[in-house]
């Protein structure tokens, strides 16, 4: 028996900002959910189940917050699932929801992800004073910067590539009304002159800390037929995990990322991702991860990813636009960041991405990762239903 095709018929997100001081946690998630329902022209009663994701509970100081959020999300009397797969969680959450439709357990599912970072401080949550463990000596960027250096050493990429990514993503964000950072006076010179925080990573090459939520309505073929606006169709989706830090791990290009992409491409019938995929929303918390993921995801040969960036291929008007929304570099409500990638991919193939729309985008990849570059989730969505 074949799977039920899955369609995205509603997308909603909040305007991401450093601190949403006018809403509760429930108010924040509700706003994204309401917008997704409005996009789909559905009501709470049309939703069969709710699948919610977020990063560690310590970030808001609420254990299993889905219990408290059940009322706000119209979940009372319905099934509600809570996913947590570290930074990839926004993507994984969407895939868990998609499976409910694909398996014909439910017809229409609301999925959402959020983080309200202003309730605490992510670095506090990440660096609890666990006894007997050496304190983390370098902050979040310090965890990733050595891998960036390893990438540079391995590929010989010029050290300007990171600033090109940041400059591009911040300019893309200006076209996205929901993006957190709107740096109207951004220039490449400003990026390159920004302080070197964790050499080789500059301040302007790091992601902000955001409050935000993102929601999607996923539905079956019948639901898609009723949808008021064009749906995005899921052509493939996968999760892959490998251990945290292990002997032989390739932190620059993790095997789990390669395997995850390969699985998605197989499902979607993608033979050559560079040719067959029109645009990518990938999880780039530090600018250098763009060239690294371009290789990991098969858009460039090993050692060649930075050349695509340098040649402008990943610009909004380039041949393979990457992070049209402005990406994680412009918006980072941690638990929602993965789902925003998935949602932006859906908006692109629906032709509803507004000013940051890629003309004629038919197949777009959404990508998320988390943990120590160990958890991956991806989906490929298309403007046409999948061939059955």
């Amino acid at each position: 028996m074949s799977k039920e095709p899955v369609a995205v018929v509603g997308v909603g997100q909040t305007k991401h900002v450093a601190a949403r001081r006018d809403v509760s946690i429930a108010g924040l998630v509700r706003e994204a959910a309401r917008r997704a329902l409005d996009d789909a022209e559905l009501s709470w009663a049309d939703i069969d189940a709710v699948v919610i994701g977020k990063a560690p509970d310590f970030f808001e100081g609420v254990m299993m917050p889905e219990l408290y959020l059940a009322d706000a999300l119209g979940a009372v009397g319905k099934p509600m699932l809570r996913v947590h797969t570290a930074g990839s969680v926004g993507g994984s959450t969407a895939l868990v929801a998609a499976n409910l439709v694909a398996a014909r357990v439910h017809g229409t599912v609301l999925t959402l992800a959020f983080e309200k970072q202003s309730e605490s401080n992510a670095m506090w949550g990440l660096s609890l004073p666990i006894p007997f463990q050496q304190p983390l000596l370098a902050g979040a960027g310090g965890f990733f910067a050595p891998h960036v250096r390893a990438y540079m050493r391995r590929t010989g990429a010029p050290d300007t590539v990171g600033s090109l990514v940041a400059y591009k993503d911040r300019r893309n964000a200006l076209k996205n009304p929901y993006a957190h950072l709107h740096e109207h006076d951004i220039t490449l010179e400003k990026v390159q002159a920004s302080p070197m925080l964790w050499d080789p990573i500059r301040y302007s090459e790091t992601c902000p800390s955001s409050d935000g939520a993102c929601a999607m309505v996923l539905t079956d073929r019948a639901g898609a037929a009723r949808a008021p606006r064009p749906p995005a169709w899921m052509h493939g989706g996968a999760m892959r995990s490998e251990p945290t830090l292990f002997a032989g791990k390739d932190a620059v290009s993790p095997q789990a990322g390669k395997d995850c992409a390969a699985d998605v491409y197989r499902q979607a019938g993608i033979a050559d991702p560079r040719r067959d995929i029109d645009a990518v929303e990938m999880y780039v918390p530090f600018s250098w991860y763009e060239p690294m993921w371009l290789e990991n995801l098969g858009f460039a040969d090993e050692g060649e990813g930075w050349k695509l960036t340098e040649a402008g291929v990943t610009e909004l008007d380039g041949d393979l636009p990457v992070n049209m929304s402005g990406g994680v570099l412009s918006t980072n409500p941690i638990g929602a960041s993965g789902m925003i990638r998935f949602a932006e991919a859906a908006l692109q193939v629906r032709g509803l991405a507004g000013e940051h729309q890629v003309e004629g985008a038919r197949r777009v990849l959404g990508h998320a990762y988390g943990g120590g570059s160990q958890f991956f989730s991806m989906w490929l969505v298309g403007s046409q239903p999948p061939a059955s």
Binding site: W124, L128, P131, L137, G142, A145, P200
Partner: protein, 313 residues
């Protein structure tokens, strides 16, 4: 087997919670000794007022004042109050349906003993002397045998309404790192780095995690590694971390100790930060009273060839 290590772990943070309009009105009302409920579309009055109707999921904002008197709908006698609870003498937990409300509020009831409380008894709010706009502005409930109070019909609008609360939370744990890490930490006290080898893939993990993460089997064969090692990669930290007393810039490096199959992370010293390089040979520098090496410094050996450590990056 060496003694299992244990140490206290306090997870504590003052969470800053912004409020939606209904919550803001309710908590500001408590500050002003006004009790507010919220009316659903079908006319029920919910106290405490929630932002979304639990039945229909409607957003609800229609505030209505209710009385400070009410009826106990269920109770439980708490003879040993715990940290953070409303009273520090024995009290009853109660759900109270305030007069004018259709749902019940959870709080404490101050009575001398369990014989003084029953379901259906009448109670009234006892306000806290100092009120800030928090659920704890209700100090507790107390028995009441008078007439129901009559709410004044407050609109729910206040001057200088509060928009947020600070919710401090502390949980205390006793952390124990388990067998493998305990053994590693015991060895550190002799300034030895002892990892464990996987019986299946033969890789040496330091610090050991109890399981070989790729084979999923227990590691147990202890292997002393280092003390020297190679810098496989690094970054230069220019931003001062809040909780660290280290002058910037400094180098944070991945170091593959000789004999280990996985790099560990540490600071590099004894060399100008801008002269640290991949392949640098280093050794630990210990300081008295510190469990871990304070930092690693150059050994003076020639740098390791890239090919010898590229698998350990």
């Amino acid at each position: 087997m060496p003694q299992v290590l244990k140490a206290p772990l306090a997870v504590e943070f003052p969470f800053t919670r912004s409020l939606g309009p209904v919550q803001s009105a309710f908590l500001t009302g408590l500050r002003e000794r006004v009790l507010l409920g919220v009316k659903t579309v079908d006319g029920r009055v919910l106290v405490p007022p929630v932002e979304y109707d639990p039945v229909t999921a409607d957003e609800i904002r229609d505030l209505v004042e209710v009385a400070g008197t009410g009826t106990v709908t269920t109770w439980a006698w708490n003879h040993e109050p715990r940290r953070g609870q409303p009273l520090d003498t024995p009290f009853a937990w109660v759900l109270v349906r305030l007069d004018g409300a259709d749902t019940a509020l959870l709080h404490a009831l101050d009575v001398p003993g369990p014989d003084a409380v029953r379901t259906g008894m009448r109670v009234r709010v006892r306000w806290a002397e100092e009120r800030t706009g928090a659920i704890t502005d209700i100090a507790c409930f107390e028995p009441y045998d008078g007439e129901p109070e009559q709410p004044a019909g407050h609109s729910g609008e206040f001057e200088d309404a509060i928009t947020g609360i600070v919710a401090a939370a502390r949980l205390d744990y006793t952390y124990s790192p388990g067998r493998a890490q305990s053994a590693y930490i015991h060895a550190l006290s002799d300034r030895r780095m002892v990892g464990e080898r996987c019986p299946s893939c033969r890789k040496v993990y330091v610090p050991p995690r109890g399981a070989c993460p790729t084979c999923g089997v227990a590691t147990s064969e202890q292997v002393e590694v280092g003390p020297r090692g190679t810098v496989t990669t690094f970054c230069i930290v220019n931003i001062k971390a809040k909780n660290l007393d280290i002058e910037v810039p400094y180098v944070y490096a991945h170091i593959a100790l000789d004999g280990a199959d996985l790099a560990l992370h540490a600071r590099i010293g004894g060399i100008p930060y801008d002269q640290v390089r991949m392949g640098l040979r280093v050794e630990p520098v210990w300081t008295d009273g510190s469990r871990f090496p304070d930092h690693y410094r150059p050994t003076g050996e020639v740098d390791a060839e890239y090919d010898t450590y590229k698998e350990l990056l």
